[in-house]
């Protein structure tokens, strides 16, 4: 029987230790993550430096008009897919202190962590200060048990 996943919204930005705990949990569930570079929005040298630091983990790069959480009406963006590993997580944990700092011009945008089995695990819409997990209830229980600080900030969607 297929157990349905639903959105569990982060009601506040995970920062510091909580942010890094989520990255650590992502390593257990996911094998890749994506970052977006919007064409209509400038990027500065510090964002380019992040791309450079992650370049060794790059799997593929393609043009997209939508990614989880966001759909562009006219334009396309560059979506880069990276291998999720201890090394790439170390970069993600070092270059920002919170999930919503993933925003141009200073950083690439909207990290999405992808399950080994396919489908997003964590979706970010950083410029809207919005993020959510796509999980089953059982996964939610397990996540909150292992990262108790999440229990105060996770809200079940419809």
């Amino acid at each position: 029987m297929m157990v349905e996943r639903r959105a569990f919204t982060l009601a506040q930005e995970p920062t510091g230790e909580l942010y890094r705990s989520i990255l650590a949990k992502a390593l257990q569930h996911c094998d890749r993550f994506t970052l977006v570079q919007r064409r209509e929005c400038i990027i500065d040298e510090s964002a380019k430096k992040v791309f450079s630091e992650l370049s060794g983990h790059l799997r593929q790069e393609r043009d997209v008009s939508e990614w989880p959480g966001t759909k562009l009406l006219d334009d396309t963006a560059i979506l880069r897919e990276y291998e999720l590993s201890e090394a790439s997580v170390a970069v993600l944990g070092r270059v920002v202190e919170g999930l919503y700092e993933w925003c141009q011009p200073g950083r690439p945008e909207d990290p999405v962590f992808w399950r080994v089995s396919g489908g997003p695990w964590l979706v970010t819409i950083a410029h809207e200060s919005d993020a959510y997990f796509e999980m089953t209830s059982a996964e939610h229980e397990e996540l909150v048990r292992s990262v108790p600080a999440l229990s105060a900030v996770l809200e079940a969607g419809e």
Binding site: A11, Q12, D44, L72, L73, P105
Partner: protein
């Protein structure tokens, strides 16, 4: 008759004494925070409350307007009054703002005259909405003047930004028709 006169006199005396006290009490009941330039004023909690309660969406928009989304608005003044979203309203801050913004990691800057004019247009566009063609024009002007621009875009299924919108500088969720 003289009783009535005494009553009227007493009424005015009481009004003169009591009214300023009531007004003062009403004012002091509104929590106020005096901020200096570039103080960060809890944008995090705006998002928190907004996602919990969609009816606070307007408060988020107001706050975004103040905080320029991810940017920190320069402010000298008083943040006062109550709001469900953040426990504070930013109306007074808006009136006092200097027009300068600070973008994390890029230091402090103020709007140029061109940027300021474009922000004024964006404020009007937020009220009226724009066509796709107008959005294109605003985007090219944003690029020319160096103001951040995002969109047009939607966030399907999310509490914020399901409708087609764009972001220009500090002005968020400008409807695109």
């Amino acid at each position: 008759m003289s009783g009535l006169r005494r009553f009227v006199l007493l009424f005015f005396v009481l009004a003169a004494v009591v009214w300023p006290c009531l007004a003062s009490a009403a004012t002091s009941a509104r929590p106020e925070t005096r901020v200096k330039g570039f103080d960060l004023v809890a944008p995090l909690f705006v998002g928190v409350e907004n996602s919990r309660n969609p009816e606070n969406h307007r408060a988020k928009l107001d706050a975004n307007y103040m905080f320029a989304s991810d940017y920190l608005l320069a402010a000298e003044g008083v943040i006062g009054a109550e709001s469900k979203a953040v426990g504070r309203s930013f109306g007074e801050l808006l009136a006092d703002e200097t027009g300068a913004i600070k973008i994390p990691g890029t230091g402090t800057r103020t709007f140029t005259a061109d940027q300021s004019a474009l922000v004024d247009l964006a404020k009007e566009a937020q009220r009226t909405g724009v066509t796709r063609q107008e959005a294109d024009v605003l985007r090219s002007w944003a690029n020319e003047t160096g103001l951040p621009f995002r969109g047009p875009e939607t966030h399907p299924g999310r509490p914020i930004g399901q409708f087609p919108h764009m972001h220009l500088g500090p002005i968020n969720h400008i409807p695109v028709n």
